[in-house]
């Protein structure tokens, strides 16, 4: 906070001040205080992750007897590093299987809602029909319905179907413990946010483009597919990353719909199960935790700017 240039100095008449042509916002940049504070906070934020990463590469014997921070004393001693923990987690811990299951759950749970939401968002933006404001407000309202409200009834739908006055309106399909069941659940839970984000973006496309396409004889479907979808790639990507991370990292929905069945276990379930059964086997736990973090971290770092755009567009996920 001490970086402000004294007022007199920033007056244009003052010769010792910065040259008047310099970008004025540069004046207050730099200085020690912000740099020190930022470095300290960033370091504190990193420490827990670094601890996990280091521990996951240390042999079990060392992990049990010394803290992970002791490695800094002899960083280049190769005997204190190993990949054994990862092998153990992947093979015996079943994390390879869980990793594939996480992929099988996450990718369709990301792409299906995008398709459905994009069509709806287009209609809400560029088609004129009765009640569209009411419908859209209802969809936005659903954004904050807690997932917890929906879990038990959906599970009942999956295991028993639904009847109204003796009439079967939802068949008993035994979807519990299947990928299809969890895709549908994630699709529905992701839809309100997807429709909201995409509607905001698609609705702000210049109307002149849409109008001129209409004048050229394009119908709604062509406009949507040839014009709106290509123009909306940033918004589609933003939501895709958001939903991908959300589904990949989800424990609650997976716990409910895939819970009891070990061959469809996803990473979050496997990891939380490992905490329960071998909570003090830190060499295994840290390797397993890192396996579960690898893909989100890659997605996050490569597509960060889309992710940030999605967040700043006002993301509130139910």
């Amino acid at each position: 906070m001490t970086t402000a240039v004294p007022v007199e100095e920033s007056l244009p008449t003052e010769l010792e001040g910065p040259p008047p042509t310099a970008d004025s916002s540069d004046v207050r940049k730099g200085g020690w205080a912000p740099r020190i504070v930022i470095t300290i906070v960033a370091a504190i934020w990193m420490v827990p992750t670094v601890g996990v990463l280091i521990t996951s590469f240390r042999p079990e014997g060392l992990v049990e007897t010394t803290g992970w921070w002791t490695v800094f004393g002899h960083l280049f001693d190769t005997s204190q590093w190993t990949l054994e923990n990862y092998r153990a987690a992947l093979d015996t811990g079943g994390f390879e299987n869980a990793f594939l299951n996480s992929l099988a759950v996450t990718i369709p749970s990301t792409v299906i809602p995008i398709t459905i939401a994009a069509f709806a968002a287009y209609a809400f933006s560029w088609m004129d029909f009765r009640g569209r404001h009411v419908m859209f407000a209802a969809v936005v309202g659903l954004m904050v319905v807690p997932l917890q409200m929906a879990l038990i009834p959906i599970l009942r739908l999956y295991t028993r179907g639904a009847e109204v006055a003796g009439l079967r309106i939802f068949p008993d399909l035994d979807l519990n413990g299947t990928f299809l069941g969890i895709w549908l659940a994630h699709t529905a839970f992701g839809l309100p946010l997807a429709v909201y984000l995409l509607r905001n973006y698609i609705g702000s496309l210049p109307s002149s483009i849409i109008e001129s396409a209409k004048i050229d004889g394009a119908d709604h479907f062509t406009i949507f597919w040839r014009l709106v979808v290509p123009l909306s790639v940033p918004a589609l990507a933003a939501f895709a990353i958001f939903q991908f991370l959300w589904v990949w990292n989800d424990l609650l929905v997976a716990r409910i719909f895939l819970g009891g069945t070990s061959d469809v276990e996803v990473l979050t379930i496997a990891l939380s199960g490992l905490v329960g059964s071998r909570g003090e086997s830190w060499h295994l736990l840290t390797a397993a935790a890192f396996i579960s973090m690898v893909l989100p971290l890659i997605v996050f770092f490569t597509l960060q700017r889309y992710f940030v755009r999605g967040l700043t567009a006002g993301a509130v996920k139910g």
């Binding site: 007022v7 934020w45 369709p108 792409v111 459905i116 709806a120 560029w126 029909f129 895709w183 109307s207």
Partner: protein, 405 residues
């Protein structure tokens, strides 16, 4: 009705004088159907029925056909016992390609309808599937949960308010409500404050701003489960005779010559230690969103204040904070909702009952796992009721935003 309606343009800023927008919003629900003059009353009613049926069909066909397609495919795949890569590939093909082709086919079908129905049905083909899925998977469940919450263990017999009596008398439940209240107050306040301070300071770095922000933001990418494991290692405690203390906090304590502490059993402070995990994860969100808002404040305003002699603190409190107040509200709301529904952290760290760290959502799953649907439902309803004020506020904010578009 074909061609008789206005193109959907009044919201667009380039055209949009504001009164057009509000008029459209207000009159929309009451707007009479533009019915051609020559229609007699009877055919008009018949037409309305046909249109309604067609719209319903248009909305239902895509989701039902997509569901049937996926279900049949996977039934077949399950029997064929293929490996997961094939499964994922097929899922993507059917899920994306299939769903898209269904929309396309429905759109073509609408093209073959009589002209007077065409543009009345088409929007429902586009919007309908989303609404159908939301009805089945969100609206119906909400109603169903409310019904179940008045039922017994199995959700069958009616027990009146028994489950709610349980929610508000059971010792563990009451503690979970108190704890959740703590989460809702502490997590948004601390995470937003740190995020705001960090965003403001990072804005002043000459270089390295992006790197610094990435480091704070990074925990957002990992799961609550992963974060919980990470912090369990920080808090790890082993009593004497059970091995070395390898947790960072106890390592520091022992380095200072103190005895190690069983952090996660220290009631009630262990609740705060769990909140730290969520703060660690969500500060990045606050920081990124607030940073974007700070950067959008015009430089001239800030410079003018500085020239007038305002100190940096004054600039921050009198200009920066008021300018980004709406964004702060959004961030806090988001975090309040998240904190209210916190589950994973408490669940993964374990033993919430012995450590007295129960929270509402965790209790819900607790009773769900013990097959008590009635109690579980009642807890979910309580959670929902707590969220409703935020929901109303959210919709109102959205309306205001919409009006100023």
């Amino acid at each position: 009705m074909g061609g008789g309606r206005r193109p959907a343009a009044p919201r667009i800023r380039t055209e949009g004088s504001e009164h057009v927008v509000t008029t459209a919003l207000e009159t929309e629900p009451e707007a009479p159907e533009p019915v051609p003059e020559e229609d007699e009353p009877a055919p008009r009613a018949a037409r309305a029925v046909v249109l309604a049926v067609l719209r319903l069909l248009g909305a239902l066909v895509v989701p039902i056909a997509a569901f049937a397609g996926l279900w049949l495919t996977f039934d077949w795949l399950r029997d064929a016992d293929v490996n997961r890569f094939v499964l994922v590939a097929v899922a993507i093909a059917v899920g994306v390609g299939g769903v898209f082709i269904l929309y396309w086919a429905m759109n073509r079908t609408v093209d073959h309808l009589p002209e007077r129905f065409r543009e009345g049905v088409r929007p429902y083909v586009f919007v309908g599937p989303a609404l159908v899925i939301l009805s089945v998977f969100l609206v119906y469940p909400v109603i169903n949960t409310i019904v179940v919450s008045f039922g017994d263990q199995d959700g069958q017999g009616f027990v009146g308010l028994e489950n709610y009596r349980f929610v508000f008398t059971d010792e563990s439940m009451l503690r979970s409500i108190r704890n959740t209240f703590g989460w809702v107050v502490v997590v948004p306040a601390v995470a937003t404050s740190i995020g705001l301070a960090f965003a403001t300071l990072a804005d002043r770095l000459r270089r390295g701003e992006a790197v610094a922000k990435s480091l704070i933001f990074l925990p957002m990418a990992i799961s609550f489960v992963g974060a919980s494991v990470t912090w369990r290692l920080v808090y790890s405690f082993r009593p004497e005779g059970y091995g070395t203390n390898i947790g960072l906090l106890n390592g520091i304590k022992m380095g200072l010559g103190m005895t190690p502490t069983p952090w996660l059993q220290e009631r009630p402070w262990n609740n705060l230690l769990l909140m730290v995990i969520m703060i660690w994860m969500q500060t990045g969100f606050a920081m990124v969103v607030l940073s974007a808002a700070i950067k959008s404040i015009p430089d001239e305003i800030l410079e003018a204040a500085r020239i007038d002699g305002a100190s940096e603190m004054q600039v921050f409190w009198r200009i920066t904070v008021p300018s980004i107040a709406p964004t702060i509200a959004v961030v806090v709301t988001y975090m309040v909702i998240n904190a209210m529904k916190v589950f994973d952290i408490v669940f993964v760290i374990g033993s919430p009952e012995t450590n007295q760290t129960e929270v509402i959502a965790e209790r819900m799953i607790y009773w769900f796992i013990r097959n008590h649907d009635g109690r579980s439902g009642a807890i979910a309803v309580v959670l929902f009721v707590l969220v409703i004020p935020i929901m109303i506020w959210n919709i109102r904010r959205f309306r205001e935003q919409e009006a100023t578009r």
